[in-house]
Symmetry: C2
């Protein structure tokens, strides 16, 4: 298995991790729209002998709300199967006794209910979208000039919504890093501890698991650096230039999740 | 002179270049406020045998409007003495046949009146302040994903207004550079061609000229890289950590412009 490429590696897999936005659905107005064939593909994986987890850098909604949206779209997913950066950040903050100034989307705030936010001594940014106003960014900047500890929930450059590409949290992370001469700590993909927490939950070794995502650097490259295989789908934020990327080469590239799952299950029969 | 440090170097100076915001005045509501002693200091320089120019990365207003504000504050300054990035950018755009998508403050738009802005094939960003909304940044980003040519009017990290530190254009330049995997062309300080255009106008060699600014990297470091001396004032965005900066060391540090001018003129008597 260790040397088998895609799709041969599928024969010895024990688990699959799926990115969500751009793989299962495209976000946008309302709940967004399911990507053709994805609902059925998740069903097929669940009916197989493979373990399945979902790993997202989604930080616009608390997991409960987010999973409810996916269920409305028709996906069979439960909260315990979903790994996202906010709960991981809460654990880090509590562990280190840090009190965050939050620059996150309103929908994410409930994830931080249990965290002391008085007299902040660090900043946490998520995909705040419209909340990334000049004024809000200045407020975060001023906290950082006094307390230079920045956590970024992901480092994505952009994602695709139904009405076009949108800037992601990583862009604002870079902005604040430059403004304050500091280096952010990334919580979420492609941070190795984040992927490792999913592997731990599955009880599997990296070489037994395949990551499927639309983000070449954060999904595919991140998983590969942890020892997993990584396959990119040509949906979501995929761009044809990804297939000529200077540093990351996917183990395989498929049209969409439906094709990926069909290929995997075919290899195993 | 070439080896003389501050303040001895003042004896052989032939010209002085002054940064404006943070040296002459602090910006903020309305016209901002003149920094104590600066109006008199400019008068003293003008009465001396030194040539005097003003060099600013100000991009919130057209030069005419900006100079009118300084005159209202009490400064004896005329438009022809002031060098700012927007006119330099217009020259570059025309020279290269580029049509900009502008993400600049409304007050700067008149500087670009003569430029064709239809069907943009590049992006120009200035200190857009509140106009750096998520929506406007997404629009600039989408142009850049098709036409990856970005001009940034300065690369400052932040500046000081009367109500606190504010993020400057450089922070958004870094954001778009990261989002689009490109390198911006900086027009304004600390870009050497920009300083050189001021020296050309004075008809002086770099070693004959001293730059005085509050921005250690962009004013002092930029001038030094062109062969000028650079002195930092402890007003504006100055922070005590500037005096322990890892890569830029000012030739001198003074409390304010008034003190700098007194020291210069004293050396020359």
């Amino acid at each position: 298995m260790a040397d088998a490429g895609w799709p041969g590696c599928a024969r010895s897999l024990k688990g699959v991790i799926l990115d969500m936005c751009g793989v299962l659905y495209d976000s946008g107005e309302g709940d967004g729209v399911a990507i053709s064939g994805s609902i059925e593909a998740v069903k097929k994986l669940k009916a197989s002998d493979l373990q399945l987890r979902f790993c997202t850098n989604e930080t616009q909604a608390a997991r409960e709300t987010f999973v409810a949206k996916l269920r409305r779209l028709g996906f069979d997913i439960s909260v315990s199967e979903v790994f996202s950066p906010a709960p991981a950040a809460v654990a880090v903050l509590k562990d280190r006794g840090l009190r965050p100034h939050l620059l996150v989307y309103d929908g994410l705030l409930p994830e931080f209910d249990s965290v002391d936010k008085t007299n902040p001594n660090c900043v946490v940014i998520g995909d705040a979208a419209e909340k990334f106003s000049y004024q809000n960014l200045n407020e975060a900047f001023r906290v950082l000039m006094e307390k230079p500890v920045l956590f970024s929930l992901g480092q994505g450059k952009y994602y695709k919504e139904t009405d076009g590409l949108k800037l992601d949290v990583g862009v604002y992370m870079k902005a604040l890093e430059y403004a304050c001469d500091l280096k952010a700590e990334v919580i979420g993909k492609p941070s190795p501890p984040f992927f490792q927490s999913v592997l731990n939950d599955m009880g599997l070794q990296p070489h037994e698991v395949l990551m499927i995502g639309d983000d070449l650097v954060n999904d595919v490259g991140g998983a590969q650096r942890c020892g997993m295989k990584g396959v990119q789908v040509r949906t979501g934020k995929y761009r044809s230039s990804d297939e000529r990327h200077p540093t990351v080469t996917a183990d395989g590239t498929v049209d969409d999740l439906a094709q990926a799952v069909d290929v995997i299950l075919e290899q195993r029969h």
